[in-house]
Symmetry: C2
Subunit: 789 residues, 2 copies
């Protein structure tokens, strides 16, 4: 156990790996085809599970007839709500205590009396091959008695709307966050600006769909499950449903082909697979197909914001109010209402908002349930707030840049602690100057030239415009992470971490951190993660937390390992520990570098036979838990220049700059990769992706024909600008979490650029902005049906 | 980490589980067919390995032609010494330092230039099915140039014998142990008694043969291997050969169908399997057949003792000398020359031998290499010593009982530390009175009546006789063991141990020990073992060490867990830790039992969220390493009454009593089971089992047709008599290791009974005594060829 901040005391001649663009160690196995994804895990004697899903958005179940499926060739088992009546439990992160009513909105493993969205599991078939399982799933006859669907989140709260849960309102939870004298501010205001802003339903769509395979050992009442991303949460929650001791359920993930939040938490399918494996005494595997992924994994976003702001005569923000309808879909799932909490808390963003009233309705509807998707709550709230600021600039007569510069947080505001909790801890902005960062970013991008260029091109009749979106992220949620460092007698060093490798490069970053503290090459370090047995306690990777928290834990474990190495070397060399220093992975006597022992030598000698003499633990290593006082708040700006093609409604992103204040980047190359990847997803949400439904609640986007993902041809060159001006005092690296920042302001900046191109003021109040919208706007008088073009 | 002896301080009303005959928790899964042996581990895509073995006892290899095998259907790979030139490393337990020359006698993975025993691996074939692999193995053409075989250990040291290793003597090592003035004693002696005693070559023959399966993860340079019994030793040694970091090689054993020592250590086949799996990137499996087991696993015993003893006029032992030829077979393997060391050290046994000269020749020959088999060295040395004592009794004119009673150790001799090392530590007999135990055992058995009965029956012309064998064992070798105890929020408690479950019931015994310290029912405890990842450091189960050492570690981990529980409960209940007591698995406030928390409740609440607040490790548990100061020395007696059928050479074991001083039996039922099982194996070595060879070095016993194992019909009712008079002060239980005692004196007692039946003095100087020998002795004048009977 180590308290944060203990110093390694590296000398000036020490090798430095932190802050260097060390190559990603994850890539060789990916590039060589040696990576192992969950569908690559095949077990001898495995059976295959196929899910029977609701074809109705909202209906009573009259009957489920599985008799034909049970008789089908190769079928071993058909399971329904009669077998598993349980619900998928929520993660215990405190929302139960505040909102006990969410327990009434939990997702059942199987629907019993009612289905609430198209795609909801009704039964599952386990058979000898995936093909036989899917064929037999088609033989399960479900008879439905339809109910009126509830789809719109504002409609859902009207008296006309059918209640999804008998005796329970469609507003599952109402979240209120407030500080300052909002009423007084509006009374004093010179300018009041209002708007309604809508963020469409889209989500993370990783290349690898979900999957899960479980191997039972019934003789020992043990189950080994591969696949779920949040291994430790899943262990706890699945063990609870299956009635197993925690230690008997081993969860492991292998390589993950993207998660982006949507694969987190427990899904009904994992419970089915585990239950069926224990029941049959055979390994059971499930691999999601793309259609299933589109309706059953997790949607995200879909919010309506009705926002009002009060400004004084100089355009200084006096107060902000926001009423938000958040369409959670059919059930409260995963870690919810976490995203809602973050949404309300993060609406003020990087601005000095003196008074704030936020109110969010957590609404249930007959759509796929929501989960956290990269930058949850920030993408939505930032879109609304930045659009409102553009509107205010227009109304007050300031430039887009100027209204922001006047209201952004600066060093003078530090620490900014307005008295509002986000995720159960006080919002605490501890370091940085957003105005300074904005100025540097604008300067670096040459934004003044962009404005001139756009004006010139518009003068030629082209639809070119610039948009600006300020962003603030919250990172490092979750308060602690674990790590262990062990030196192998071969000289290799093994780092075990509670974090997960979901593509972000955490293996590389932890290797850098430990390499620096132990003064060995990062190539000597192996990073192990995502295994509840190898890492008995851990939290996981989400919320841009891993570099800070897992990195902090790994650093502490390395320091504790070093301390033990010095102690042992002191005994072995008969030297005073205070005279020992670390040079090149060796503990040497200060001033007599030839007298020393490598870490490998110490580990090799300190086996059980040696350790027993000193009543000490054998081996050279240490475990640590790292704690953070509060979240960190990176910030930045996204600048976009767009050109619309009026002939097609298509667009070109002519310029794209995204910037962030990193505090300190452990690996600038992987930081850049993360930020640019996030920006690409932001472009998807701004211009392409939307899960649309018809009036009956049937999903219209269930394949990549209908759900448009930006391809590499659609994503422009993205410039990344980083400052490291304001390391946070809150962790030993000064680092801020950067996994999501690139996404947050894209919707806002793109929308601003579009409106700037058309020059008609703030018109774009909804994302995504599809080609059809842009074409119609380019042809205001046309009565052509765009679908027939 | 805990020093031995820390007290749990259980009150008088505490539940007691130690010392109770708790039912074996291992049995339900075995009885239900839910056990999982290594051959039950099947991996998707597995290939099968078959070994090409030498058909010659001693020959140069002229050529190995694998071309036909490589072309055979389904063959993926053929490997030979050209691929793996390495030798199987020795375990590092100190013999290298004392006898560096043993490195010249190591077993190569594959023979290259010379084969040295029938069964030695020359090549291996990996194919799609075991049948294809075996068929193709038959296609590997090995051309030999024969050399004269060396089979007899005394002949091996003559000038005529061919040297097995060029430039190296056939005496690989010479071990000398000596104390006291032997020369002076013989000068003073009234009686000098001499004999030559031979123990045949036999071994442990577990129901389950060896097996091994390995799964590679080449993307991470990791290998997961199931099967080998000594997981941690195998991890270290196999990683060394394969050039892998220790942490990347995971070893796990599942259920083990008997080991008895012969499955311990590393075998060439494990290395082949691991190498092939990494090379092919596919799981590879090898399952030994019975013929292979008979020639390739490990033989044991085969010693010639030439012993001389000096007695005074009263039959008091003055000195003992023993020259021993120990036929190790073709290579020095496993932990050798451990068995030789023990042999020389344990010859004096439970007797007050004032002066001793022991000399042992570690001899190589063209037979299967030796390993430790249950009671190694003790069975052989006890046979020689006890036969010599019977001879001395006859020569001096004392009864078999009386000559022993006069010379056995008593309380007056304590501590008996004559100044001789056994396995690198001073022989230290710390507790007990062997004479007292003998008297109690004789009394309990009614041995006086046996003598009368035998005399009466002999008077009727029947061949009935009694034999007596005194035994001393050494137990608890290995100096430390590890354990961890973790309380699951479900209330179950998980004990991880470095010991292995090889049929001895260690899971049951550890559950009892932890249950008692934590005052919960043993059924709530799960015991995990034999996995290098779950138990990062451990020693293993051999040398009757696990109850004492793994038990000591588990007890210490339980006590440390309890201490943490009290500390946490103190914080949670806001009570002084000193006021907290353990009642029924709950920490309660003394005098206010309603105020308390169960261990499960504490574990459930002390998750990461709680632990972070106190900078403490999450969870409720502790790890411990238990150390022992020295080995313990249980003792006892085996009493046998035999009747020979002169018509057939058959025998009936009319009475069989084996006794031991246990110090303290943790579980009297499993103790009894272990002792009786060992006695059955002793009967095998005394009357049935022998690996015979013909003159050319071809093994004659390669199936159960030729190698006779006693069946349940051959093993009589065995009475077990136990005293718990002399707990050792050397561990907190007072327990002595009892896994092997039942075997040690069986050869001696059976031989004594046979000679008593014939009434012709000490004639039987070799075991096993086969039916043919008995028939010939019953028909001294017959010239019938017994083989034709």
């Amino acid at each position: 156990m180590g308290k944060p901040g203990a110093s390694g005391g590296l000398g000036p001649s020490a090798k430095r790996f932190v802050g260097k663009s060390v190559r990603r160690r994850e890539d060789p196995r990916l590039l060589r085809g040696d990576a192992r994804f969950v569908d690559d895990v095949d077990l001898h004697g495995q059976l295959f599970l196929s899910v029977v899903r609701s074809s109705e958005a909202h209906a009573h179940i009259v009957s489920v007839d599985a008799s034909a499926a049970r008789r089908a060739r190769g079928v071993r088992l058909v399971i329904t709500a009669e077998d598993i009546a349980a619900e998928v439990p929520l993660e215990q992160i405190g929302y139960h205590e505040v909102y006990p009513q969410i327990d009434d909105y939990l997702h059942p493993v199987f629907a019993s009396d009612r289905v609430r969205y198209v795609g909801q599991p009704v039964a599952a078939v386990i058979a000898d091959t995936p093909y036989l399982a899917e064929d037999a799933a088609g033989l399960v006859e479900v008879t439905y008695d339809s109910l009126p669907p509830v789809l719109d989140p504002q409609y859902a709260l009207t008296d006309e709307a059918e209640l999804l849960f008998e005796g329970q309102p469609n507003e599952a939870v109402r979240i209120v966050k407030s500080y300052g004298d909002v009423g007084g501010a509006f009374e004093r205001a010179t300018h009041v600006v209002k708007g309604r802003y809508v963020v469409g339903r889209h989500s993370g769509v990783p290349m690898e769909t979900r999957g899960c395979i479980a191997e039972p050992d019934r003789g020992r009442n043990q189950l080994f499950m591969w696949g779920p991303v949040h291994t430790h949460d899943c262990q706890r929650l699945i063990a609870q449903v299956l009635g197993m001791p925690l230690a008997n359920l081993r969860m492991k993930h292998v390589d993950i082909g993207g998660s982006f939040g949507v694969k987190g938490g427990v899904f009904p399918e994992y419970i089915m697979v585990g239950w069926a494996a224990m029941h049959l005494g055979r390994p059971v595997k499930w691999t999601e197909d793309r259609l299933e992924h589109m309706v059953a994994t997790a949607h995200a976003r879909e919010q309506v914001h009705e926002m009002t702001a009060a400004f004084d005569a100089d355009g200084m923000l006096l107060a902000l109010t926001d009423e938000i309808w958040h369409n959670h879909g059919a059930f409260i799932r995963q870690a919810e209402p976490l995203v809602s909490d973050i949404t309300v808390g993060m609406v003020p963003g990087p601005y000095r908002v003196p008074a704030y009233d936020g109110l969010l309705h957590v609404v249930v509807s007959n759509k796929t349930p929501l989960s956290a998707y990269r930058a949850p709550g920030r993408y939505e709230g930032t879109f609304a707030r930045e659009r409102l600021l553009d509107q205010a600039a227009e109304q007050i007569g300031l430039s887009q840049v100027e209204i922001r510069r006047r209201n952004l947080l600066t060093t003078a505001d530090l620490p900014f602690v307005p008295g509002m909790d986000i995720c159960f801890e006080p919002y605490h902005f501890d370091s940085g100057d957003v105005v300074d960062h904005l100025d540097k970013a604008l300067d670096s991008a040459g934004f003044a030239d962009w404005e001139q260029e756009a004006a010139d091109l518009r003068a030629q009749g082209r639809l070119v415009g610039n948009g600006i979106g300020m962003l603030m992220d919250k990172a490092g949620l979750g308060l602690y992470e674990t790590s262990a460092v062990d030196v192998d007698p071969s000289g290799r060093i093994r780092v075990r971490t509670g974090a997960s490798s979901v593509g972000q490069g955490i293996e590389t970053v932890l290797a850098q951190i430990v390499a620096e503290e132990l003064q060995v090459e990062p190539d000597l370090i192996d990073v192990i993660h995502g295994d509840t047995e190898l890492v008995p306690e851990g939290v996981g990777s989400w919320s841009s937390r891993s570099t800070v928290l897992a990195g902090g834990a790994a650093r502490q474990a390395a320091l504790d390992t070093l301390a033990k190495a010095k102690r042992l070397a002191g005994e072995m060399l008969e030297a005073n520990v205070d005279d020992l220093i670390l040079v090149d992975g060796r503990i040497v006597v200060s001033g007599a570098a030839h007298e020393g022992l490598s870490l490998a030598e110490i580990a090799g000698r300190w086996d059980g036979w040696s350790a027993r003499l000193a009543y000490d633990e054998p081996g050279l290593g240490a475990q640590a838990v790292y704690l953070d006082e509060h979240m960190n708040y990176p910030y930045g700006v996204t600048l976009v220049q767009i050109e619309i093609d009026p002939a097609t409604g298509g667009h070109t992103l002519r310029r794209f700059v995204t910037s962030t204040e990193a505090g300190r980047a452990i690996n600038p190359m992987t930081t850049r990769g993360q930020v640019i990847g996030a920006a690409a997803q932001g472009i998807g949400g701004a211009l392409y992706e939307e899960f649309l439904y018809d009036e009956s609640g049937q999903p219209l986007a269930t394949s990549f024909m209908d759900y448009l993902l930006p391809t590499s041809l659609d994503v422009p060159e993205i410039d990344f600008f980083m400052t490291e001006d304001a390391p946070t005092p809150n962790n030993p690296f000064g680092a801020k979490g950067l996994g999501e920042v690139g996404l947050i302001a894209v919707g806002a900046a793109v929308a601003g650029a579009i409106d700037d191109a058309f020059g008609e003021g703030v018109i774009t109040t909804k994302v995504p902005v599809t080609p059809e919208t842009l074409w119609r706007r380019s042809h205001p008088n046309s009565d052509v049906d765009a679908r027939s073009m």
